[in-house]
């Protein structure tokens, strides 16, 4: 396993690609969080006292993580599809014949990068979002009791989706198919669900990955959603199922 990990690290080490992903996820997180925070701040004057009491300052500042997730998931997808599309996966298997060992090494290395990138993205998004909200007195302090959980939830969400990306990449082998599926689940599914009748929306929405992520980063529990960690456990279940499929295809179908 040590050599397999060394191999995957050495593939990631030419940092231009990896650091670009990390940077992109941070930039996306900060930009979107800033925009959402600005929008909130501009409407602060119209907020009532109750509005202010129930205002989810942490969740709003972490909105950008929902954008960063796309970059991180694509990072996971590409680590598989880049090799399958060029045929380099065969060279990887020549060096490390154990298919599952290669998969495990890819998961570990990419999840680690995703965790670091995710931690930076969450912290940066929160800091910028709070700075903007602070101008209207909507900020919370860094010692807010829910904050560590929300940040941790955001990082966990990003890491899970990176792993999901790797799994989808192993399952579909082409970037187009894997990224289409990923985007459908993250971006298209929530839009489609909104078309459904309102009572069904409330029942269905909580199962969506994007909603699970948003809930995990929110400071105020939403009765229509799963509890943050229940949701993340459910998401981990989705990821595990996909991973089983991907691993099965990796072992059974020739590269």
């Amino acid at each position: 396993m040590g050599n397999a990990l060394a191999m995957e690290w050495a593939k990631l080490r030419p940092l231009h690609k990896t650091s670009r992903t990390v940077l992109l996820s941070i930039v996306l997180a900060v930009t979107v969080s800033a925009l959402v925070a600005l929008a909130m701040a501009s409407s602060a004057a119209r907020m009532t006292v109750t509005d202010r009491q129930t205002f989810d300052s942490i969740g709003i500042s972490l909105q950008g993580v929902n954008a960063a997730v796309l970059a991180i998931a694509a990072f996971g997808v590409l680590c598989m599809t880049r090799e399958y599309s060029t045929g380099m996966i065969a060279v990887t298997f020549l060096a490390q014949p154990g298919r599952l060992r290669v998969l495990a090494a890819k998961l570990l290395t990419h999840a680690t990068v995703a965790a670091i990138a995710g931690a930076c993205a969450c912290a940066a998004a929160f800091a910028v979002g709070q700075a903007l909200l602070d101008t209207k007195g909507l900020a919370v302090s860094w010692s807010a009791s829910r904050l560590p959980w929300a940040l941790l939830g955001g990082v966990a969400y990003l890491v899970l989706l990176c792993i999901w990306g790797v799994a989808l990449g192993a399952l579909f082998r082409t970037s187009a198919a894997a990224i289409t599926w990923m985007a459908s689940l993250l971006v298209v599914a929530p839009v489609i669900v909104q078309i459904l009748p309102a009572d069904i929306v409330l029942r269905v929405e909580r199962w969506l990955p994007a909603q699970i992520g948003t809930t995990a980063m929110s400071a105020h529990p939403n009765p229509h959603m799963f509890a943050p960690w229940t949701g993340l456990a459910l998401l981990a279940g989705y990821v595990a199922l996909t991973l089983i499929g991907g691993a099965w295809r990796m072992v059974r179908t020739d590269p």
Binding site: N3, M7, A10, P14, G87, P97
Partner: protein, 302 residues
């Protein structure tokens, strides 16, 4: 040493590799010959553990590929020179390979030098010509300094200078005592490069012998036409001849024209034609492999 035993691979109704058995010994370049689509690449992929065999197995120095702990130190392979992520530089590509098998960090630079790419090690592979990619593929095969090398169609798409370079390079590797197994569909090229041959056609073994033996056998044959071809074929086979059969004639190799006449007389067969055939090596190879489906296995030595 590479050993292939009763290797068989089927894709649906097609048997791509059919009960293949041969051995590749160290110290010489062994050519793996067969027309396009004859099962060379599938065989190579089975040796390398990239494709599972339906039957039989292949071993490298006595062990199957997937059992090798640090495979790059046991066998180096060039299978598809385009199989490199284009955004990586040549040296980066070799570095991850070295890391994958715990190979010395200086080695990537060394092998780049061996294939004459040291000056472009920092360039992205996406901009490489096919010839440069082939050289990089060979450098990758050499990364673990393996005693066994397997090159699948290494001269495809190369210019004459590149072909000459690869030929001399492979012979040099064999002279160092390594096992060099190189596939090609060009008989003429193998005649210059290899000293041993494994010839297959439609997935079956046609010959596994020295190139001199093959040349001798393949170049001179005797054509026999007769209404009793089946009887004759059986009789020739028991005398140790190799036979290639077409609709109305039999190509006989390995016994003299005089013996053939005597056997025909003993069997009591009517002969319409009994004529010696001379062909160039290339023609002989084409004929042998094209008619491999009608090939009757050699009795000789078996």
């Amino acid at each position: 040493m590479i050993e292939v035993r009763r290797l068989t691979k089927r894709y649906g109704p097609n048997t791509v590799v059919n009960d293949l058995t041969f051995r590749v010994d160290p110290g010489s370049v062994t050519g793996f010959l067969g027309p396009n689509g004859s099962g060379k690449t599938t065989t190579a992929r089975m040796i390398l553990g990239l494709t599972d065999a339906d039957n039989g197995h292949a071993t490298i120095n006595g062990r199957r590929y997937r059992e090798l702990r640090r495979p790059l130190k046991e066998i180096g392979a060039l299978i598809n020179p385009g199989a490199v992520v284009p955004s990586r530089t040549a040296i980066e590509h070799l570095r991850w390979l070295a890391a994958a098998n715990g190979i010395d960090r200086k080695r990537p630079g060394e092998v780049l030098g061996m294939v004459g790419l040291e000056s472009v090690g920092g360039r992205r592979v996406g901009g490489f010509s096919l010839g440069m990619k082939q050289r990089l593929g060979i450098a990758a095969a050499l990364i673990g300094d393996p005693p066994v090398l397997l090159f699948d169609e290494p001269i495809n798409g190369l210019d004459p200078e590149g072909i000459r370079w690869i030929r001399i390079f492979m012979q040099g590797l064999a002279a160092q005592g390594r096992t060099v197994f190189v596939s090609s569909h060009l008989m003429s090229e193998m005649a210059l490069t290899a000293t041993q041959l494994v010839v297959i056609g439609q997935g079956r073994l046609i010959a596994a012998e020295s190139i001199d033996q093959f040349t001798e056998r393949a170049k001179s044959s005797v054509r026999v036409r007769s209404p009793q071809l089946d009887e004759l074929a059986r009789a020739f086979a028991t005398e140790g001849a190799s036979l290639w059969r077409s609709d109305d004639s039999l190509e006989v190799v390995g016994i003299s024209i005089e013996q053939i006449g005597a056997i025909a007389s003993k069997v009591g067969a009517v002969l319409y034609e009994l004529s010696p055939q001379r062909a160039s090596l290339e023609e002989a190879f084409m004929r042998l492999t094209a008619e491999a489906c009608d090939y009757i296995p050699m009795a000789r030595g078996a």
